[in-house]
């Protein structure tokens, strides 16, 4: 027989209970009732089934999951008799929501809370880079979501490095792993330009990590834009709301992130064509210059202007046939035309001989004693013919 004082007894009882019931091994399944929060710090509620009820206590900062009366939960905690009041309660360390109803309700509550805080604000959403080079990918590498995503990226684009952070996307460790991946990425040496978080579709139980406050905050805190793609066309997860862009599926996420090489290739072709067109147009407008030059040449040589024009055109054409590169074609043509400029010929040392105002082309028109006028690049002088050489 042992006699304890009241406080000693309570201590012994608490000790016995603590040692035999641990929140790592034992959970209590029940329905939440009489839920209340006092002073924004302490949470009290009752956990009941149809035959029994137990008091529960928790702190606000420890209880991340918002609860409501009527929700079914698993509660994990230490049973304890509070010495001062003799009151028995479970000190709850964590809870799990059971059943779709509870999860939906928690989803609604969290969505409202985060929306009010501004995590879904449109103004904060950032643009995705058009041509990313480094993408951070948080996904389960065993999943179809992952293989689909990679396949579509490879089809569409090249020159990309995908930095894969493999995580569990559901189950007990999912939230921790996903949040940890976000943290790793922020601190990485490689500057990724965009982060993508994907998984396949699933039930609301499966999607719990994507509806969690921790993952939502990790997305919000990301310094680079985040694309979320849950393989789930209908319902949206909290992660979808916080994301900079929401993709309807992992494949859609791939389409959003990288361009289609065929479309870009087409755009490049169109631009090349436009350049060529403008270049041709510039050449066309330079035909005016050509006209001036041929007129000058015709005046000087006395030939008909059409003849000169034809000659110049044939030369330029012939040159164009020889040279493949447009650049050479154009500069070559310009050079030829410029060299046909009479002024240039004179500057190079050629001279023009005039007799009685007409250009002399052959010595046959000259006789000893004739007076001729000679035009040089610089200046003109007269001369008497001394001797004709044949």
């Amino acid at each position: 027989m042992q006699i304890f004082t009241v406080s000693e007894f309570i201590t012994v009882l608490n000790d016995i209970m603590r040692r035999s019931i641990s929140p790592h091994e034992v959970g209590i399944l029940g329905e939440v009732a009489e839920y209340k929060v006092s002073q924004d710090k302490w949470i009290w509620f009752k956990l009941k089934d149809d035959q029994g009820v137990i008091d529960c206590f928790a702190t606000v900062w420890q209880m991340r999951t918002p609860l409501e009366n009527g929700m079914k939960i698993n509660a994990y905690g230490f049973p304890k008799v509070h010495p001062k009041s003799g009151k028995f309660a479970i000190n709850v360390e964590r809870v799990e929501l059971i059943g779709e109803g509870a999860l939906r309700r928690a989803f609604e509550l969290l969505k409202k809370k985060l929306e009010t805080e501004g995590l879904f604000a449109l103004e904060r959403k950032r643009m995705l880079p058009q041509f990313p080079e480094h993408i951070a990918l948080i996904a389960s590498r065993e999943s179809a979501a992952y293989t689909d995503f990679i396949r579509i990226v490879n089809n569409r684009w090249s020159g990309l490095t995908i930095h894969l952070y493999h995580v569990a996307v559901q189950g007990a460790s999912a939230i921790k792993e996903i949040v940890s991946a976000f943290a790793e990425c922020q601190m990485s040496d490689v500057r990724c330009q965009v982060l993508v978080l994907i998984r396949g579709g699933g039930s609301i139980e499966d999607l719990q990590a994507f509806n969690s406050e921790e993952v939502a905050r990790a997305i919000f805190a990301s310094k680079i834009p985040v694309v979320v793609g849950v393989g789930h066309e209908r319902d949206e997860t909290i992660a979808d709301y916080v994301a900079d862009r929401r993709a309807s599926t992992p494949s859609n996420a791939a389409e959003m992130l990288v361009p289609d090489r065929r479309e870009i290739g087409y755009a490049i072709s169109v631009m090349s064509e436009r350049l060529r067109d403008r270049m041709d147009y510039a050449l066309e407008s330079n035909k005016d210059r050509l006209a001036d030059m041929t007129s000058a040449l015709a005046r000087f040589t006395g030939r008909k202007i059409e003849y000169v024009r034809e000659a110049a055109r044939r030369i330029a054409e012939r040159f164009a046939q020889i040279s493949v590169r447009t650049h050479d074609r154009v500069t070559g043509a310009i050079r030829i035309l410029e060299n046909l400029n009479p002024e240039k010929l004179l500057a190079r040392g050629y001279s023009v001989v005039f007799k009685n105002g007409h250009v002399v082309r052959s010595v046959k028109t000259l006789a000893r004693g004739d007076v001729v006028s000679i035009r040089l690049g610089q200046g003109t002088f007269d001369g008497d013919i001394r001797e004709i050489k044949t």
């Binding site: 880079p129 058009q130 041509f131 080079e133 590498r141 990679i150 990226v153 490879n154 684009w157 090249s158 020159g159 990309l160 490095t161 995908i162 930095h163 894969l164 952070y165 493999h166 995580v167 460790s173 921790k176 792993e177 940890s180 991946a181 790793e184 990425c185 990485s188 090489r261 870009i264 290739g265 490049i268 072709s269 631009m271 090349s272 436009r274 350049l275 060529r276 403008r278 270049m279 147009y281 510039a282 050449l283 407008s285 330079n286 447009t326 650049h327 154009v330 500069t331 310009i334």
Partner: protein, 77 residues
């Protein structure tokens, strides 16, 4: 310090090409100056097209550096 010529990214080249085309469209093309732009534009177009056809994608798996998750064995260390 010796200057290092950085390899141009696809994005830089594509943007420069867009800029040249915009310049060509907006004003009268001077034949002499236009040639330089035209040449550069063709060069860029060539580079971009080559990039689309050739370069492959790479997947690099990141192993966690410090304690935590991402697949590393938590026992011992």
């Amino acid at each position: 310090m010796a200057s290092k010529i950085k390899k141009p990214t696809f994005e830089e080249s594509f943007r420069e090409l867009e800029k040249i085309v915009a310049e060509f469209e907006s004003k009268e093309v001077d034949l002499e100056k236009g040639l330089a732009g035209f040449e550069r534009g063709m060069e860029l177009a060539q580079f971009c097209k080559k990039h689309l056809e050739e370069v492959e994608n790479k997947v690099v798996e990141i192993k966690k550096r410090f304690g935590g998750v991402l697949g590393e064995n938590e026992e011992g260390t």
